[in-house]
Symmetry: C2
Subunit: 506 residues, 2 copies
């Protein structure tokens, strides 16, 4: 690229567009390399692949932190187009995050996280928090240093600086009142849901084995019905399901079990929600910051909208029950294959220790505990050595369960050992937004859920596309949700949804 020595505002913006497009293409390449690593890569390629991925990440970081970037970003004038303006805002935000942290701290954090993750695998297995402690302390120290550096550069509190990495514009001040309300409502809500559940027939799980090809075929048909563009994506298998890939090549994965015919399907629907968001991002802003998904809360809102609001609803099961029956040779008179039974099966409430196995009602309790812990640890108001007791005490408060060991407690998640602090709240923010979006969508078009009962997901997607997907990163999560629903993210629709579905309270 020929760079004028004193670029005009428009020239500076054009240069930035070209540079960010390069970073976008590197991100696409990393998306495919990462997908490959987690699905089909031969085991012996692990070290070599790690090198390739690290090299591309460094090249992208070098592009982002080139010495002339601050000047270009300061000088750039994108014109009057709103998306172009938002693009420059996003460029500046991404640059601030990348440039705030000195290279040696980036490296130290990455090394600490790699070591801690390795230590975590055996420490979790042996339920040995003490063994993890020194490693996790190093990760926490690095993370606090990163948070402090970013806080200064972005003029945010340290925790907000971490949060902003995953969810631009969302602040602890937004989350605290929302989560406080949940914390006060949840114990009663869970108790009421369990009471109500006792009044219903116990759900009966269909008995297998369920052939994997039949599960996969049904999964593909369901993806396509939901609106997934099969010409611009794939479905494959991996140990941990995810949505990855690249622009025009969105790849989701699932894991099949032959003794269950619904978990993999629900997983496919969940990842399809993520994928529809990616496939619906604004085409004119490919490989530009404003063309990316807004953040993890909104991303999770799309997967949970499809899984929790749609696929675990009674209308969806009206459509799906005969399909499940046909796929696995069930008899229509058999009780397990009825829509009512299957709906009770996918909405069963069972408080437990493990977050990823939790149902919709108890899930937020797991997040609340983690959010309280990580905000205190980042703020320095709690010592890491005190984490297990504090964690277990809050699980007991919210779920009434006594955690028997740390494997079932604060050692269960990979997030903190791997350096992902500030990530957990986005799960529950996503659930809250999902409920809010469904309520608003139904208000705008009451035909949406009745159409879903007939397998027609077009009205829902037509509502989502312009309001969520096509906005990319053109506004903050809060603004996008407000524009779509008339209100910033709030617990109203979420609590109404939980009370209606699980407590039969209309």
């Amino acid at each position: 690229m020929n760079i004028p020595s004193r670029p005009t505002g428009q020239q500076a913006y054009d240069i930035l567009r070209q540079r960010f497009a390069r970073m976008g293409q590197i991100r696409n390449a990393l998306g495919i390399l990462g997908w490959d690593k987690d699905t089909i890569m031969p085991a012996g390629a692990a070290d070599s692949r790690a090198e390739s991925i690290a090299t591309l990440a460094v090249l992208s970081h070098e592009l982002m932190t080139a010495p002339d970037m601050p000047d270009l970003l300061a000088r750039a004038e994108p014109g009057t187009d709103a998306m172009a303006t938002a693009n420059l805002v996003e460029m500046r935000r991404q640059h601030a995050h990348a440039a705030a942290v000195p290279g040696d701290l980036v490296e130290a954090t990455s090394r600490a996280a790699s070591r801690c993750e390795m230590a975590w695998r055996t420490a979790r297995q042996d339920s040995d928090f003490a063994r993890l402690l020194p490693h996790l302390q190093t990760v926490l120290d690095c993370t606090r240093a990163v948070a402090a550096a970013k806080a200064g550069a972005l003029n945010l509190s340290p925790y907000d600086a971490l949060l902003d990495q995953y969810d631009a514009g969302t602040r602890q001040a937004d989350i605290d009142p929302v989560f406080a309300e949940l914390a006060s409502e949840l114990p009663h809500l869970i108790a009421t849901a369990l009471d109500h559940q006792k009044s219903l027939p116990a759900p009966i799980a269909p008995t297998g084995p369920f052939a994997v090809p039949a599960q996969e075929k049904l999964g593909r048909e369901t993806m396509a019905a939901l609106g997934f563009d099969m010409q611009r994506g794939r479905l494959d298998v991996s140990l941990h399901p995810f949505c990855g890939g690249a622009e025009d090549d969105v790849r989701i994965t699932t894991r099949y079990e032959t003794d269950d015919c619904i978990n993999a399907l629900m997983g496919i629907v969940h990842e399809t929600g993520h994928a529809l968001y990616e496939q619906g991002l604004p085409k004119d802003w490919r490989a530009q910051p404003v063309g990316e998904a807004r953040g993890m809360s909104l991303h999770e809102s799309q997967s949970l909208l499809m899984e929790m609001q749609v696929a675990r609803s009674r209308p969806f099961m009206e459509w799906m029950a005969p399909r499940l029956r046909a796929a696995f040779g069930g008899n229509s008179n058999d009780a397990p294959w009825g829509a009512d039974n299957l709906h009770r099966l996918v909405t069963r409430v069972r408080p437990g220790f493990i977050r990823v196995d939790a149902d919709e009602v108890t899930y937020p309790a797991h997040i609340l505990v983690r959010y309280e812990m990580e905000t205190a640890l980042i703020a320095g108001t709690m010592k890491l050595a005190d984490l297990p007791d504090a964690f277990n005490a809050r699980i007991h408060d919210l779920l009434g369960l006594k955690v028997p060991n740390d494997r079932l407690g604060c050692l269960q998640d990979i997030h903190w050992p791997s350096g992902s602090w500030g990530y957990f709240p986005t799960y529950t923010l996503g659930a809250i937004i999902a409920a809010q979006l469904r309520e608003a969508a139904m208000r705008d078009n009451p035909a949406i859920m009745p159409a879903i009962a007939k397998g027609d997901f077009t009205p829902l997607l037509d509502w989502l596309r312009p309001r969520i997907h096509a906005r990319g990163s053109g506004a903050s999560t809060k603004e996008i949700v407000r524009d779509a629903t008339g209100a910033v993210p709030n617990t109203g629709p979420y609590l109404r949804h939980l009370r209606q579905r699980y407590c039969a309270q209309v």
Copy 2:
């Protein structure tokens, strides 16, 4: 990277090592992205993937042509280690190739080749050379300009400069006498082979259908037996078989037909030959120029050694025949499943128009014609408009066939339209070297072919590993072949092999 302003010789070499390691990792990434594109990528991702691939290629080119590279390359001192010395030689050669051509010529050539390739697809289909002519003329003009630029920088003739891209150190002066000898021997040899063939029972092809899973299983077992490390590679399906992927992740492909049980297997053996070379490259020189495969002649020698010298031999069929029978439920008394019949089947000689369908005896005739044409076109001693007549005349001379149309003549190959000039001779150089290697290997260890008759390929691989694979790009093709066999590449063993196998002349 912190670069000293006046690096010492050792410092300069270390900086170069780091830079070339980066380029090596980009090459690994491109290997996976390219493999993915040609095997499993969804169709709608084509444009986006092309952008990602182009971006990585440009990043690598920019690293190679950074302004301080000539100074670093001039100043570098790699010490006394022979491989390190060869590494610097290769760095300089690769840099000379990349730096010789101005950016706008690179771009013009790439654009012309893309357009010409598109025009070629329909022109070939319609057998319409006139329609291709203007596009191919542009590609030829660009290629001659590239050749001239590289010739100046590398102090070579224009054609040698093109050849050097695919086969470092091989020169037209080496090829001309070899190919002249072949051209004079070939017509008589083909006639003799056809005569001899008449004296043998006509081979009988087993009748299918042959289930794809059974073909794939046999293919995998054969790859493993040949020495392919399944922990560091994959076998998949693609339209055109190839060997690609990355370091520690060598991926081969094949294409199955249900009415044939041998073609896909022979294809797998061929690509396994390429893959064994890649898997056997020197581990200490990962991602460095000297750690790469030497060039296309030696690469093709490895695939042809496995396919032509090994898998189409009578000893191999001794081992394989019962395996084929078992895989496809054949009866051991059935004539088609006998080792003699199967061997005759895979060594059948049938002169034809299409190069890629040619047998071992007539194949070099196709290459001789293309080599004569492209050397004349690059030298400017022939006009492109005269290509069809000249091509057809030489096919008639060497194969006795009258080419009925250009689809079956000079329009059949993608090489010239896509800009690959100087590539064709490496196919036949590979065949010549393969015969020479097998003769030398058997001289050094006469147990090699008897072991193969029992399915033991270890003696052959043990011979190849240190002499060919582990040398990487540590010497020229000529030197590697001379060190391994005692003679530079020559037609002696190749002609002996053809006369023995096809004319029963010992």
